[in-house]
Amino acid sequence: MTLEATLLIAAAIFSVGLFGAISQQVVVMVMMGLELMINAVILAAAGVWWFLAPDPTGQVLLMVIIAAMTVEMAMGFAVATLLHRERGADMTDMATDLSG
Protein backbone atom coordinates (compact mmCIF):
# COMPACT_ATOMS: atom_id res chain seq x y z
CA MET A 1 0.00 0.00 0.00
CA THR A 2 2.10 2.83 -1.31
CA LEU A 3 1.44 6.15 -2.94
CA GLU A 4 2.61 4.80 -6.29
CA ALA A 5 0.22 1.84 -6.09
CA THR A 6 -2.71 4.08 -5.26
CA LEU A 7 -1.90 6.52 -8.05
CA LEU A 8 -1.39 3.69 -10.56
CA ILE A 9 -4.82 2.27 -9.77
CA ALA A 10 -6.30 5.77 -10.03
CA ALA A 11 -4.54 6.29 -13.38
CA ALA A 12 -5.97 3.02 -14.68
CA ILE A 13 -9.51 3.97 -13.62
CA PHE A 14 -9.05 7.43 -15.15
CA SER A 15 -7.92 5.97 -18.46
CA VAL A 16 -10.86 3.57 -18.60
CA GLY A 17 -13.19 6.51 -17.91
CA LEU A 18 -11.49 8.57 -20.61
CA PHE A 19 -11.97 5.74 -23.09
CA GLY A 20 -15.67 5.61 -22.22
CA ALA A 21 -16.17 9.36 -22.39
CA ILE A 22 -14.59 9.51 -25.86
CA SER A 23 -16.00 6.36 -27.39
CA GLN A 24 -19.54 5.98 -26.10
CA GLN A 25 -22.48 7.22 -28.12
CA VAL A 26 -25.23 7.12 -25.53
CA VAL A 27 -25.33 10.30 -23.45
CA VAL A 28 -25.75 8.44 -20.16
CA MET A 29 -22.80 6.18 -20.99
CA VAL A 30 -20.65 9.26 -21.65
CA MET A 31 -21.67 10.45 -18.19
CA MET A 32 -20.58 7.10 -16.78
CA GLY A 33 -17.15 7.69 -18.31
CA LEU A 34 -16.95 11.12 -16.71
CA GLU A 35 -18.02 9.61 -13.39
CA LEU A 36 -15.22 7.07 -13.58
CA MET A 37 -12.71 9.85 -14.23
CA ILE A 38 -13.87 11.80 -11.19
CA ASN A 39 -13.82 8.54 -9.24
CA ALA A 40 -10.15 8.20 -10.09
CA VAL A 41 -9.51 11.77 -8.98
CA ILE A 42 -11.12 10.98 -5.60
CA LEU A 43 -8.82 7.99 -5.15
CA ALA A 44 -5.72 9.90 -6.25
CA ALA A 45 -6.53 12.83 -3.94
CA ALA A 46 -7.16 10.45 -1.04
CA GLY A 47 -3.81 8.75 -1.69
CA VAL A 48 -1.88 11.99 -1.94
CA TRP A 49 -3.57 13.19 1.25
CA TRP A 50 -2.70 10.09 3.23
CA PHE A 51 0.82 9.51 2.01
CA LEU A 52 2.07 13.08 1.65
CA ALA A 53 0.25 15.62 3.80
CA PRO A 54 -2.39 14.19 6.13
CA ASP A 55 -3.89 17.41 7.45
CA PRO A 56 -7.62 18.23 7.24
CA THR A 57 -7.23 20.61 4.27
CA GLY A 58 -6.82 17.71 1.85
CA GLN A 59 -10.02 16.11 3.10
CA VAL A 60 -11.89 19.34 2.46
CA LEU A 61 -10.62 19.18 -1.12
CA LEU A 62 -12.04 15.67 -1.37
CA MET A 63 -15.43 16.96 -0.27
CA VAL A 64 -15.24 19.56 -3.04
CA ILE A 65 -14.49 16.83 -5.59
CA ILE A 66 -17.46 14.77 -4.39
CA ALA A 67 -19.68 17.86 -4.61
CA ALA A 68 -18.46 18.50 -8.17
CA MET A 69 -19.37 14.92 -9.02
CA THR A 70 -22.88 15.39 -7.66
CA VAL A 71 -23.38 18.57 -9.66
CA GLU A 72 -22.11 16.88 -12.82
CA MET A 73 -24.51 14.00 -12.32
CA ALA A 74 -27.57 16.16 -11.61
CA MET A 75 -26.97 18.55 -14.50
CA GLY A 76 -26.08 15.69 -16.83
CA PHE A 77 -29.35 13.92 -16.11
CA ALA A 78 -31.29 17.17 -16.54
CA VAL A 79 -29.65 17.81 -19.92
CA ALA A 80 -30.22 14.18 -20.94
CA THR A 81 -33.91 14.56 -20.08
CA LEU A 82 -34.14 17.83 -22.02
CA LEU A 83 -32.34 16.34 -25.01
CA HIS A 84 -34.62 13.35 -25.02
CA ARG A 85 -37.73 15.50 -24.81
CA GLU A 86 -36.72 18.05 -27.46
CA ARG A 87 -35.07 15.75 -29.96
CA GLY A 88 -35.96 12.23 -28.96
CA ALA A 89 -32.19 11.80 -28.88
CA ASP A 90 -30.21 9.58 -26.59
CA MET A 91 -27.00 9.63 -28.64
CA THR A 92 -24.32 12.27 -28.72
CA ASP A 93 -24.18 12.00 -32.51
CA MET A 94 -27.80 13.12 -32.71
CA ALA A 95 -27.04 16.35 -30.88
CA THR A 96 -24.00 17.71 -32.63
CA ASP A 97 -25.51 21.09 -33.47
CA LEU A 98 -26.55 23.74 -30.99
CA SER A 99 -29.53 25.32 -32.75
CA GLY A 100 -32.84 23.52 -32.99
Binding site: A5, I13, S15, L18, S23, G33, Q59, V60, F77
Partner: protein, 187 residues
Protein backbone atom coordinates in the same frame (compact mmCIF):
# COMPACT_ATOMS: atom_id res chain seq x y z
CA UNK B 1 1.11 -7.75 3.85
CA UNK B 2 -2.50 -8.87 4.06
CA UNK B 3 -3.69 -5.29 3.75
CA UNK B 4 -1.44 -4.85 0.69
CA UNK B 5 -3.05 -7.84 -1.01
CA UNK B 6 -6.52 -6.59 -0.10
CA UNK B 7 -5.65 -3.11 -1.38
CA UNK B 8 -4.43 -4.40 -4.73
CA UNK B 9 -7.37 -6.79 -4.99
CA UNK B 10 -9.89 -4.04 -4.39
CA UNK B 11 -7.99 -1.82 -6.83
CA UNK B 12 -8.24 -4.54 -9.45
CA UNK B 13 -11.98 -4.81 -8.82
CA UNK B 14 -12.29 -1.03 -9.22
CA UNK B 15 -10.45 -1.02 -12.56
CA UNK B 16 -12.13 -4.14 -13.95
CA UNK B 17 -15.55 -2.92 -12.79
CA UNK B 18 -14.90 0.34 -14.63
CA UNK B 19 -13.83 -1.54 -17.76
CA UNK B 20 -16.89 -3.80 -17.56
CA UNK B 21 -19.12 -0.71 -17.79
CA UNK B 22 -18.14 -0.31 -21.43
CA UNK B 23 -17.92 -4.00 -22.19
CA UNK B 24 -21.19 -5.56 -21.06
CA UNK B 25 -24.23 -5.45 -23.32
CA UNK B 26 -26.95 -4.72 -20.83
CA UNK B 27 -27.37 -1.20 -19.51
CA UNK B 28 -28.43 -2.50 -16.11
CA UNK B 29 -25.26 -4.57 -15.90
CA UNK B 30 -23.18 -1.55 -16.93
CA UNK B 31 -24.76 0.47 -14.13
CA UNK B 32 -24.06 -2.21 -11.55
CA UNK B 33 -20.51 -2.60 -12.81
CA UNK B 34 -20.01 1.13 -12.26
CA UNK B 35 -21.54 0.83 -8.78
CA UNK B 36 -19.09 -2.00 -8.04
CA UNK B 37 -16.19 0.14 -9.20
CA UNK B 38 -17.33 3.01 -6.98
CA UNK B 39 -17.79 0.79 -3.94
CA UNK B 40 -14.27 -0.59 -4.50
CA UNK B 41 -12.84 2.94 -4.66
CA UNK B 42 -14.81 3.83 -1.52
CA UNK B 43 -13.25 0.83 0.25
CA UNK B 44 -9.81 1.95 -0.88
CA UNK B 45 -10.47 5.41 0.52
CA UNK B 46 -11.41 3.64 3.77
CA UNK B 47 -8.07 1.84 3.59
CA UNK B 48 -6.46 5.27 3.42
CA UNK B 49 -8.06 6.06 6.79
CA UNK B 50 -10.60 8.56 5.52
CA UNK B 51 -13.64 6.96 7.04
CA UNK B 52 -16.09 9.76 6.40
CA UNK B 53 -15.17 10.36 2.77
CA UNK B 54 -15.09 6.63 2.05
CA UNK B 55 -18.49 5.96 3.54
CA UNK B 56 -19.99 9.04 1.84
CA UNK B 57 -18.59 7.89 -1.51
CA UNK B 58 -20.06 4.41 -1.12
CA UNK B 59 -23.49 5.57 0.06
CA UNK B 60 -23.77 8.33 -2.51
CA UNK B 61 -22.67 6.20 -5.42
CA UNK B 62 -24.95 3.29 -4.61
CA UNK B 63 -27.92 5.68 -4.59
CA UNK B 64 -26.68 7.44 -7.70
CA UNK B 65 -26.35 4.19 -9.59
CA UNK B 66 -29.88 3.21 -8.57
CA UNK B 67 -31.10 6.45 -10.18
CA UNK B 68 -28.85 5.89 -13.17
CA UNK B 69 -30.34 2.43 -13.72
CA UNK B 70 -33.77 4.05 -13.98
CA UNK B 71 -32.42 6.57 -16.50
CA UNK B 72 -30.84 3.82 -18.51
CA UNK B 73 -34.15 2.00 -18.77
CA UNK B 74 -35.94 5.28 -19.58
CA UNK B 75 -33.67 6.44 -22.35
CA UNK B 76 -32.58 3.20 -23.91
CA UNK B 77 -35.63 2.26 -25.90
CA UNK B 78 -34.36 -1.07 -27.12
CA UNK B 79 -32.86 -3.75 -24.96
CA UNK B 80 -29.23 -4.15 -26.01
CA UNK B 81 -29.00 -7.40 -24.06
CA UNK B 82 -31.50 -8.96 -26.43
CA UNK B 83 -30.35 -7.05 -29.49
CA UNK B 84 -26.59 -6.52 -29.18
CA UNK B 85 -25.22 -3.66 -31.23
CA UNK B 86 -22.17 -1.48 -31.11
CA UNK B 87 -22.86 1.81 -29.39
CA UNK B 88 -19.42 3.31 -29.82
CA UNK B 89 -17.73 5.67 -32.23
CA UNK B 90 -14.05 6.27 -32.95
CA UNK B 91 -13.23 3.22 -30.88
CA UNK B 92 -9.62 2.92 -31.99
CA UNK B 93 -8.88 6.58 -31.31
CA UNK B 94 -10.45 6.25 -27.87
CA UNK B 95 -8.38 3.16 -27.03
CA UNK B 96 -5.21 4.88 -28.26
CA UNK B 97 -5.93 8.02 -26.22
CA UNK B 98 -6.75 6.00 -23.10
CA UNK B 99 -3.64 3.80 -23.35
CA UNK B 100 -1.43 6.81 -24.03
CA UNK B 101 -2.90 8.64 -21.07
CA UNK B 102 -2.34 5.67 -18.78
CA UNK B 103 1.24 5.21 -19.94
CA UNK B 104 1.98 8.92 -19.51
CA UNK B 105 0.43 8.98 -16.05
CA UNK B 106 2.16 5.74 -15.01
CA UNK B 107 5.52 7.01 -16.24
CA UNK B 108 5.05 10.19 -14.25
CA UNK B 109 3.94 8.29 -11.15
CA UNK B 110 6.91 5.92 -11.25
CA UNK B 111 9.54 8.49 -12.27
CA UNK B 112 8.69 11.26 -9.84
CA UNK B 113 10.71 11.30 -6.67
CA UNK B 114 7.82 11.67 -4.26
CA UNK B 115 8.51 13.67 -1.12
CA UNK B 116 8.22 12.10 2.28
CA UNK B 117 5.12 12.56 4.38
CA UNK B 118 4.79 15.97 5.99
CA UNK B 119 3.11 16.00 9.37
CA UNK B 120 1.07 13.21 10.87
CA UNK B 121 -2.65 12.45 10.58
CA UNK B 122 -4.90 13.80 13.32
CA UNK B 123 -6.02 11.20 15.86
CA UNK B 124 -9.66 11.45 14.77
CA UNK B 125 -9.68 12.19 11.07
CA UNK B 126 -13.45 12.66 10.79
CA UNK B 127 -13.54 15.04 13.75
CA UNK B 128 -10.68 17.03 12.22
CA UNK B 129 -12.58 17.28 8.92
CA UNK B 130 -15.72 18.49 10.69
CA UNK B 131 -13.84 21.05 12.73
CA UNK B 132 -12.02 22.22 9.65
CA UNK B 133 -15.26 22.60 7.65
CA UNK B 134 -16.98 24.42 10.47
CA UNK B 135 -13.93 26.53 11.26
CA UNK B 136 -11.13 27.74 8.99
CA UNK B 137 -12.57 26.07 5.85
CA UNK B 138 -16.08 27.43 6.30
CA UNK B 139 -15.80 29.20 2.93
CA UNK B 140 -15.88 25.82 1.19
CA UNK B 141 -19.20 24.95 2.79
CA UNK B 142 -20.50 28.45 2.12
CA UNK B 143 -19.68 28.07 -1.58
CA UNK B 144 -20.84 24.48 -2.02
CA UNK B 145 -24.25 25.14 -0.46
CA UNK B 146 -25.44 27.78 -2.98
CA UNK B 147 -23.93 25.72 -5.80
CA UNK B 148 -26.06 22.78 -4.71
CA UNK B 149 -29.18 24.95 -4.54
CA UNK B 150 -28.41 26.37 -7.98
CA UNK B 151 -28.01 22.81 -9.25
CA UNK B 152 -31.43 21.83 -7.92
CA UNK B 153 -33.06 24.89 -9.53
CA UNK B 154 -31.23 24.47 -12.84
CA UNK B 155 -31.98 20.75 -12.91
CA UNK B 156 -35.68 21.30 -12.40
CA UNK B 157 -35.78 24.12 -14.97
CA UNK B 158 -34.00 22.01 -17.59
CA UNK B 159 -35.94 18.85 -16.96
CA UNK B 160 -39.42 20.31 -16.42
CA UNK B 161 -41.76 19.71 -19.33
CA UNK B 162 -44.03 22.75 -18.94
CA UNK B 163 -43.55 25.46 -16.40
CA UNK B 164 -45.66 28.49 -15.45
CA UNK B 165 -43.77 30.53 -18.04
CA UNK B 166 -45.08 28.25 -20.77
CA UNK B 167 -48.60 28.63 -19.42
CA UNK B 168 -48.74 32.34 -18.50
CA UNK B 169 -46.06 33.88 -20.76
CA UNK B 170 -42.75 35.43 -19.76
CA UNK B 171 -44.41 38.11 -17.60
CA UNK B 172 -46.87 35.61 -16.08
CA UNK B 173 -49.78 37.85 -17.18
CA UNK B 174 -51.25 35.86 -20.03
CA UNK B 175 -54.85 34.79 -19.30
CA UNK B 176 -56.27 32.31 -19.93
CA UNK B 177 -53.33 29.99 -19.51
CA UNK B 178 -51.96 28.40 -22.65
CA UNK B 179 -52.73 24.79 -21.95
CA UNK B 180 -52.91 21.94 -24.47
CA UNK B 181 -56.20 20.93 -22.88
CA UNK B 182 -58.08 24.00 -21.60
CA UNK B 183 -59.60 23.49 -18.19
CA UNK B 184 -62.56 25.14 -16.47
CA UNK B 185 -66.14 25.47 -17.76
CA UNK B 186 -65.41 27.85 -20.67
CA UNK B 187 -66.40 31.14 -19.06
Amino acid sequence: MLSDIAFWGIGLVAVLGGAAVFYVDSMARATYALALSFVAVGLQVLFLQQNYVGVVTILMMVMEMAIMAVYMVMFMGMNPALMPMSMVHSNKTAIAVAVTTFLALATGILMVDWPTRRGSPPPDVTMALGESLMGPKMLVMAVISPVMVATIVAGVVLAAHRTRYDRFGDDLKQRPADDPQPGGVGR
